[in-house]
C-alpha cells in the first residue's frame, strides 16, 4: 500500500509542478489543484498508513492517528476556498487584460 501511495503522490506532485509552470492561468490553476491534492494526501500519510483501524482510542486494538485527519480537513477547506478565489481572480484578469497569460500580456502576439 505504501508503494502505491508514494507513486500516486509522486505522479500528482510532478504533474502539479509541471502545470504550475505553464503560461496560461487555467493550467496554472489545474496545477495548483493537483499540488494541493498531493499535499493533502501527504499530510494524511504523516500519521502513518493503517487499514481497518478507527481513529478513536479504546474501540479496537490498533487505532489510527486522528490528528492528521483533522489537519487534512482544515487544509482541504482552506485549499478549496483559495482555489475558488484564484479561479474568480483569473476570470477577472482574463476579462480585464483580454488574455489569459499569467503575465497579462501575450508575448506571441504583436503588441499594439
Amino acid at each position: 500500500m505504501e508503494l502505491l501511495y508514494a507513486i500516486t503522490l509522486g505522479v500528482l506532485t510532478s504533474c502539479g509542478t509541471y502545470l504550475l509552470l505553464r503560461a496560461r492561468t487555467f493550467t496554472v490553476i489545474l496545477g495548483l489543484t493537483l499540488l494541493s491534492h498531493a499535499v493533502n494526501l501527504y499530510l494524511f500519510a504523516s500519521g502513518r498508513l493503517v487499514a481497518g483501524a478507527p481513529a478513536i482510542i479504546g474501540i479496537a486494538d490498533t487505532m489510527a492517528d486522528p490528528l492528521p485527519q483533522a489537519l487534512v480537513l482544515t487544509a482541504i477547506v482552506i485549499g478549496f476556498a483559495m482555489t475558488a478565489f484564484v479561479v474568480v481572480l483569473a476570470l477577472k484578469a482574463a476579462v480585464e487584460l483580454r488574455n489569459d497569460h499569467v503575465d497579462g500580456e501575450n508575448p506571441d502576439e504583436d503588441r499594439t
Partner: protein, 507 residues
C-alpha cells in the same frame, strides 16, 4: 487564565464579521466600527508591551486544553512588539484610508479587520499548524485588499501574488506533514524538545523540513530568489493597503525568528545552523538587489517597494549573525523600517495627487502643487528613511554596524549596507530635486488634504520619538533578543510539567 490575550484576534474578527453583516449600514458606521476596533488594538498592544516587559510568558490555552494537545497562544516580548506595531500601523492606514480610498471598492473595512486578525493571530500562536491557518487568513484578506479599487495593474499583480502564495501554502503543508510524521507533534515548544531528542538518522529529513519552512517564510519575507512578485504587487496596491503590507514581509521575518530560534534551536547539533548558513549570503544579495532596485525604479511606489526589500535584506543578514546584540539591533531596525516604508507609501500617494500628470512616475516632469509643504515633508521623510540622524534609522543602523563589526563576515554587511544606504540617498535626493526643485510653482494647485498630511508627519514624528527615547526602547529590545535566545523559558512556560533537560542553546 487571562482571557485578554485572545482579544487581539477575536476583536477584529468579530468587528469584521459585523461589518460584513451590516454592510448596508451607513458608511460612517462602518468606519466608526473599524476605528473603535483598531484603537482598542492599539491599547491592547500597549498592554501587551507592558505585560510582556516583566519578562514572563503569558499563556492562553484555547478551550482550556493543556499545551501539547490544545492550541496555545503565547505572549512574549517579541509577540508584544509585533502586536503593538501592527496596531499602530493599522490605525495609521485606516485613518489614511478614510480620506476616501475606502470608498473605491466593497468591504474595505471588513477585509482590513480580517487582515489585522490574521496578523495578530500569527504573532500570538504557539502552534505551527495554527500559524499556517493564520497565515491563510491574513493572505486571503490581503488578496482581496490588494485588488481593492480594481484596475488592470492590480489584477495582473494580484494574479502573481496569489499564485506564488498558494504554492507557498502547499510547501508549508509539506513541511508540516514531514515534521509531524517525524516527531508527532506540532506545538512549537513540544517540537523543539522532540527535535532536539530526535535520532541522528532523522537529521537530514528534519533539515529538509526546516529548509522548506525557510522557503515558505522566504516567500512571505521576500528573500532574493523569491522576491520578484513584491515590487509589482506593492506598487499596484492602493496607498493605505500598500502601507499595511509593509508589515506583511515582517510576518515572514517574525516566523523565521520564531521557528529557527525556538523549534530548530535545541539539541547537540541544532538544525538551524544549515538555515543560517543559507540565509546569510541570500540576505546580503537581497540587500544589494534592494539598493540597485531603489536606484533603478521608475516610480516612487516601486522605489518604496525596493526599500521594503532592502529592509528585509538588512534584517535577515543581521539576524543570521545569530547573536543577541545583533538581534536586538535588527528588531529596532524592523520597527523603524516598517513605519517608514508605510509612511513612504502614503507620501507617494499624497505627492502623486498633487501632480498634473504621471501620478508618481519619475518620467513625468511637471510642476507639483504646494511645493514647500510637501517638499519639506519629503525632505524630512527622506532623511528618516535613508537612516541619517536624528531619526531612528540612524540609531538602529549604528547599532547593527556595532553588533556586526566583530563578527566574522561582518565587514561584508558593513560594505553592502553602507553602499545601499548611499544608493538610497542618491535615489531619494534625485527624486526630491526633480520633483520639487526644478519645476516651478503650480498655478492652481489641487486642494491639499491637511488631515492626511498631518498623519504622514506624525508617522515620521513617531519615528523620531523612537530615536529620542532610544535608551528605554533599546533596553527593551535587548531584553527581547535575550529572551529569544533562551528558548528554555518559552518551553517550560508552555509545557510546565515537562522535565526539560537543559540543552545548550545554539548560537
Amino acid at each position: 487564565m487571562n482571557h485578554v490575550l485572545i482579544l487581539p484576534i477575536l476583536l477584529p474578527l468579530l468587528t469584521g464579521a459585523g461589518q460584513l453583516l451590516f454592510y448596508r449600514a451607513p458608511f460612517a458606521v462602518q468606519r466608526l466600527l473599524g476605528f473603535a476596533s483598531t484603537a482598542w488594538l492599539v491599547l491592547l498592544g500597549l498592554w501587551a508591551i507592558v505585560t510582556a516587559g516583566a519578562g514572563d510568558y503569558l499563556i492562553y490555552q484555547a478551550g482550556n486544553w493543556p499545551a501539547p494537545f490544545g492550541i496555545v497562544l503565547v505572549l512574549d516580548r517579541l509577540a508584544a512588539i509585533m502586536l503593538a506595531l501592527t496596531a499602530v500601523l493599522g490605525l495609521c492606514c485606516l485613518l489614511y484610508a478614510s480620506g476616501g480610498t475606502d470608498r473605491r471598492g466593497a468591504h474595505f473595512h471588513a477585509l482590513f479587520q480580517f487582515q489585522l486578525a490574521g496578523l495578530n493571530g500569527a504573532f500570538l500562536t504557539g502552534d505551527l499548524f495554527n500559524l499556517f491557518v493564520f497565515f491563510e487568513i491574513l493572505l486571503i484578506a490581503s488578496y482581496a485588499l490588494l485588488l481593492h479599487g480594481g484596475g488592470r495593474a492590480r489584477s495582473r499583480a494580484g494574479l502573481h501574488y496569489v499564485i506564488i502564495n498558494l504554492a507557498g501554502s502547499a510547501l508549508f503543508l509539506i513541511a508540516l506533514g514531514t515534521l509531524y510524521g517525524l516527531v508527532g507533534t506540532l506545538n512549537m515548544a513540544d517540537l523543539a524538545q522532540r527535535i532536539a531528542a530526535a535520532p541522528a538518522e532523522d537529521a537530514p529529513l528534519l533539515a529538509a523540513a526546516s529548509l522548506i519552512l525557510l522557503v515558505v517564510f522566504g516567500i512571505k519575507a521576500a528573500i532574493l530568489p523569491l522576491l520578484f512578485w513584491l515590487p509589482r504587487a506593492y506598487s499596484a496596491a492602493s496607498a493605505p493597503v500598500a502601507a499595511l503590507f509593509a508589515i506583511m514581509t515582517k510576518v515572514g521575518v517574525y516566523a523565521i525568528l520564531r521557528v529557527f530560534l525556538l523549534v530548530f534551536a535545541l539539541g547537540e547539533a541544532p538544525v538551524n545552523e544549515t538555515a543560517w548558513n543559507w540565509l546569510w549570503p541570500l540576505a546580503l544579495l537581497t540587500l544589494a538587489l534592494g539598493g540597485i532596485g531603489v536606484l533603478g525604479s521608475e516610480s516612487l511606489r516601486t522605489l518604496t517597494a525596493y526599500l521594503v526589500i532592502l529592509s528585509v535584506g538588512t534584517l535577515l543578514a543581521t539576524i543570521s549573525l545569530a547573536t543577541p546584540a545583533a538581534l536586538g539591533a535588527a528588531l529596532f531596525y524592523l520597527v523603524h523600517s516598517t513605519l517608514m516604508a508605510a509612511a513612504f507609501f502614503l507620501l507617494a500617494d499624497l505627492l502623486g495627487q498633487q501632480r498634473k500628470e504621471g501620478y508618481d512616475r519619475f518620467s513625468a516632469v511637471g510642476p507639483i502643487g504646494h511645493r514647500w509643504v510637501l517638499g519639506s515633508l519629503f525632505f524630512i521623510a527622506g532623511i528618516a528613511m535613508a537612516g541619517l540622524p536624528p531619526f531612528s534609522g540612524f540609531v538602529s543602523k549604528v547599532w547593527i554596524l556595532q553588533a556586526s563589526g566583530a563578527q566574522p563576515g561582518g565587514l561584508w554587511l558593513w560594505g553592502i549596507l553602507l553602499a545601499s544606504a548611499l544608493l538610497v540617498i542618491i535615489a531619494i535626493s534625485r527624486t526630491g530635486s526633480s520633483w520639487f526643485w526644478r519645476p516651478g510653482e503650480m498655478a492652481t494647485p489641487y486642494p491639499l488634504r491637511r488631515g492626511l498630511l498631518t498623519l504622514v508627519y506624525s508617522m515620521v514624528g513617531l519615528n523620531a520619538l523612537l530615536a529620542a527615547f532610544g535608551d528605554p526602547v533599546m533596553a527593551y529590545l535587548a531584553l527581547t533578543a535575550e529572551q529569544l535566545f533562551a528558548p528554555q523559558g518559552y518551553i517550560s512556560a508552555v509545557l510546565p510539567e515537562a522535565t526539560a533537560p537543559t540543552w545548550e542553546v545554539a548560537p
